[in-house]
Symmetry: C2
Subunit: 199 residues, 2 copies
Amino acid sequence: MNPIDFYFDFSSPYGYLASTRIDALAERHGRAVTWRPFLLGAAFKETGQRPLVEQPLRGPYFLRDFARSAGFVGVPFRLPQPFPFASLAACRAFYWLADRDPAVAHGLAQALYRAAFAEGRPIAAVDDVVGVAAPLGIAGDALRQAVEDPAVKARLRHETEQAIARGVFGSPFIIVDGEPFWGSDRLDQVERWLTTGGW
Amino acid sequence: MNPIDFYFDFSSPYGYLASTRIDALAERHGRAVTWRPFLLGAAFKETGQRPLVEQPLRGPYFLRDFARSAGFVGVPFRLPQPFPFASLAACRAFYWLADRDPAVAHGLAQALYRAAFAEGRPIAAVDDVVGVAAPLGIAGDALRQAVEDPAVKARLRHETEQAIARGVFGSPFIIVDGEPFWGSDRLDQVERWLTTGGW
């Protein structure tokens, strides 16, 4: 069966919430998950959206909803400052590793999300990413070089373009056998879709 | 206990989905619901948002998600054409009735939503609203006069301003004892909030 595509931006609280549940959900249905970080800002250029917390009226609501929605599903939540933050270095580090050892890339993604939104630590700077990566045995010097590598940069650009070409405009965004689901609050629909194949 | 405030725009598919469940949900917790239609377009002027289906990338997704989300909760769904549509006449008719007989106003709101999104019938024009209202025993001539009544117009303007002043920016938008919930996909959080008083 096809893997589930899990698109997310490392600066997305709802992406973090989904990340804590997507693997177990897929496993219940015998599916693998392909984690696909991308740059949500590139999609915003297409849709005209802006980061949630910068929007009038909507900003204060989302700050409240992030924490409430985390509590609702029982995961720790703490918003890093500043927020939102650049996820470029985290994304590039991910794809550099994904081509060498997907399991390590997956572990780094989970560790980055946990650092950012469970512990409220910054993960925007390369040094931040190196700090999160170190306990996983990922060499700092190699990571620093990788995020400046033109091939790694091109890889992320390509992944982001492909995401937008598939209609991905938010985070998290999950595609199951061609069916698109936007938002951590669509995981219950994803689960039923995997059970029934549609309705 | 305080009634639950249920804000919605008559042109909102997700408002329709919530409208089919909010009363029973509240009743399970011994609460009443105050139905509060408003003009979502006025909130969009504050937030910079536009109707969902007019947005690049997002539009095609939402057309799919409307129907899928309706199927997920087991309610009929059919999108009227044109969509989105003006909900001014429907809103004014509602508030004209709300001041005379809240139960009739509530019945009209349900009938309008059912006509629009279960049957796919237009409800934008005054004649459409009159047609939906007739089986409920609401006189067409009086309704036609009411939607042009300056006092009714002012009432809707006031309700919409008050909604925005309370932070309402989308549809549906539910406020429980000061706690705001946006979206039909937050009804599960509303239910738990009513059970536990927060978390």
